[in-house]
């Protein structure tokens, strides 16, 4: 396969199997009524909880285009009335992390720095309790398999948003790469490196997951021309 072969005529080295994941929410024993308690619980809670309140919450709220990034930021604003901390927490892009441990450290660092600057905020009681949850995950196949690029586009159009989230957002924790399943396949098995990069640049924080799907389909349609 060479990069000069038109995209439509390329035969992928391997088919792309669209999978999806389903999550069952578990309530853990960790909770926070103050920012100091949030910091402590962030240190001690299971990694599943960090995943739930950052990666997973994006899926639960996939229909919101703006103003929602992770549960910690939302709580800092709505329950603690700390907009500056909320902005800093909201700026954490889960796609910059390939491990939940690194992501946890980033959240802890932001809260610690904020409480050093504003110690009075630490013990102040929040309006609502933050309950740390976690997910039990089941990964399963879908009926979509792409043996060619046009089938891949068709699959992308028709799978659920849960599948998009599974391959596009959660994937980096599996791959341990700053990439996603779709881009990996386009790069490694189809040889469409530029298209793979363009897909990976789609911004998940300024679009709904349906919007992300639309952007990806558009990028692929351009590649098929």
């Amino acid at each position: 396969m060479t990069s000069l072969t038109p995209a439509l005529q390329r035969t992928p080295a391997k088919p792309f199997y669209f999978n999806t994941s389903a999550h069952l929410l578990r309530i853990t024993r960790y909770k926070a009524n103050t920012l100091a308690e949030l910091r402590d619980a962030l240190r001690e809670c299971p990694e599943d909880s960090i995943f739930q309140h950052s990666f997973r919450t994006l899926q639960e709220h996939h229909f919101i285009r703006e103003g929602f990034s992770n549960d910690f930021a939302h709580w800092a604003l709505s329950a603690c009335n700390e907009p500056s901390l909320a902005e800093r927490l909201a700026s954490v892009d889960v796609r910059e992390f390939t491990s939940v441990a690194e992501l946890r450290e980033r959240f802890i660092q932001i809260v610690e720095e904020y409480l050093e600057q504003k110690p009075a905020a630490g013990p102040r009681r929040a309006d609502d309790t933050f309950y740390f949850c976690a997910s039990d995950i089941v990964v399963m196949p879908t009926s979509f398999v792409a043996h060619a690029l046009h089938e891949f586009v068709e699959g992308l159009r028709r799978v659920s948003v849960h599948s998009i989230h599974h391959h596009f957002i959660e994937a980096r924790l599996r791959l341990k790469l700053m990439s996603n399943d779709f881009s990996q396949w386009l790069h490694e098995d189809v040889g469409l490196t530029e298209t793979a990069r363009a897909l990976n640049r789609v911004d998940i924080y300024t679009a709904t997951l349906e919007g992300v799907r639309t952007q990806m389909v558009r990028i692929l349609e351009r590649a098929l021309l």
Binding site: S21, L24, C133, T142
Partner: protein
């Protein structure tokens, strides 16, 4: 022609003699002004139940991919069996939910049985008292009450068989059936539908040793959970988008209901649907409406029930009528419980929906409003903040004044209000529909049986 200030259907129905499904026509009460509106028409007797929908019927609502996911989730559970046990076959949210859930699980070839416990009046008096005490009410527990509770649970244990792979016990009434656990190979789950955030310590102390023997517990909100040594899962309550209360309606039917209730669809309609109960703060809603109407034109519809079978409900209804005074734009409807289609139509006709509760379980009327894409203003209590993310899927308020302001704001910013409505509907579609509920049960079964979990 001057309007009447309220249309109390319940009392009219009580006075009607006919027992057929004939629309009841109320006689005007002495002293009220002549009617502007025609009499509301509601069926006097409950309509015949409609057959439960099939999985494919949901496809046009949630999409083929979501239904496919349910089938994939169920595929490896084929042949597994589940038993649901609760305390009533009809009436109440749990029975309503099971009526829809059980057929769908069976359609997915996860054979699901539903058993209802039996007991005498003394048992249900004790469990009612337990229920209230677990919600935080005062209660004097007695040894006798505990013995009654245990005796009927034991009778039911001996009557029932537990041969399934998973047994789900709903709420506290049958909780002691866990004593059958040793005789079975099943995974046992306690599904708690009530708010346990502030339980009566002695009643909870009595129940807790039973709950700790289960493999898992399920709560409707994070805040309802207790510290327990077993895994606790979060299952939000759900609505059925194909039920009478939530299905799509013909515009002509919505128009007809509004005409019959005297609601002017040319002007904004602000509605609260709930029982006439102080915890729903209908008086606060009337006050908020009156404050808001100094700035914006609108009508208020307060639609609910509970005044005919609950003395306190009747008192609250009277207070609400007094607060409304002669205001022709406050329309108070005391509806019988089987007016789901009418409630649906009222919600769909509304410009805004309010649920200004002071205390709330989950608040399924909020879910219903969001599902209909309505901009919703609600009290930040109970499970409501799980549904309304402030400024994203609705507006949360903490006071009459806050509620009044949000009515003004949303009526004067229709684009923002419409965006809230769109987000709210998507939120329900993702998290609070019957299909999501089926998904959670399938997932739980897979998790507890260790089938294909990560």
């Amino acid at each position: 022609m001057e309007p009447v200030k309220d249309q109390s259907v319940g009392s009219h129905l009580a006075a009607a003699e006919t027992t057929t499904a004939t629309p009841a026509v109320p006689a005007p009460s002495p002293g009220v002004q002549p009617e502007r509106r025609r009499a509301p028409r509601t069926w006097e007797t409950p309509p015949a139940p409609v057959p439960p929908p099939h999985l494919d019927d949901y496809q046009s609502i949630v999409g083929a991919a979501d239904i496919d996911e349910l089938r994939f989730l169920a595929r490896e559970l084929k042949g597994k069996t589940v038993k649901m046990v609760n305390s009533t076959a009809v009436g109440g949210g749990v029975a309503e939910m099971l009526n829809r859930l059980v057929p769908l699980m069976n359609e997915l070839e996860v054979t699901t049985h539903w058993d209802v416990i039996t007991g005498g009046n003394d048992f249900f008096e004790v469990t009612k008292a337990f229920h209230n005490a677990l919600h935080g009410s005062d209660y004097e527990p007695t040894r006798h009450a505990e013995e009654i509770f245990l005796m009927y649970n034991e009778q039911n244990r001996q009557r029932m068989q537990f041969t399934e792979d998973m047994v789900v016990i709903h709420d506290p009434q049958p909780a002691a059936l866990i004593r059958a656990r040793q005789e079975t190979a099943a995974r046992w789950v306690w599904r708690c539908h009530i708010d346990l955030s502030n339980p009566h310590p002695e009643v909870w102390g009595f129940l807790r040793p039973f709950i700790e023997q289960y493999d898992a517990a399920i709560f409707s909100s994070q805040s309802f959970a207790r510290q327990l040594p077993i895994p606790q899962y979060l299952f939000y309550p759900c609505i059925d988008p194909l039920s009478e209360k939530n299905k799509e309606l013909d515009e002509s039917f919505v128009q007809k209901v509004c005409e019959e209730f005297g609601i002017d669809r040319a002007r904004p309609i602000v509605t609260q649907v709930s029982r006439f109960d102080r915890l729903k703060d209908p008086l606060g809603v009337v006050q908020a409406f009156k404050l808001a109407r100094r700035y914006v034109d609108c009508q208020l519809v307060l639609a609910g029930g509970g005044a005919s079978d609950d003395p306190e409900g009747a008192t609250v209804l009277k207070e609400v009528k007094d607060a409304a005074g002669d205001d022709p734009d406050v329309i108070i409807l005391d509806l019988p419980p089987w007016c789901a289609l009418e409630i649906n139509a009222l919600q769909r006709a509304s410009t805004l929906i309010i649920q200004k509760s002071i205390k709330e379980g989950f608040g399924l009327t909020v879910t219903e409003a969001l599902w209909k894409g309505k901009p919703t203003i609600a009290g930040a209590v109970g499970g409501i903040p799980n549904q309304i993310i402030h400024k994203l899927t609705g507006m949360l308020v903490h006071s009459v004044e806050g509620c009044a302001y949000q009515i003004r704001y949303l009526l004067t910013h229709p684009e923002f209000a419409a965006q809230l409505g769109r987000n709210g509907r998507e939120h329900v579609k993702e998290n609070f529909l019957m299909t999501t509920n089926v998904r959670r049960w399938l997932l739980l079964l897979r998790v507890l049986l260790h089938i294909g979990t990560a």
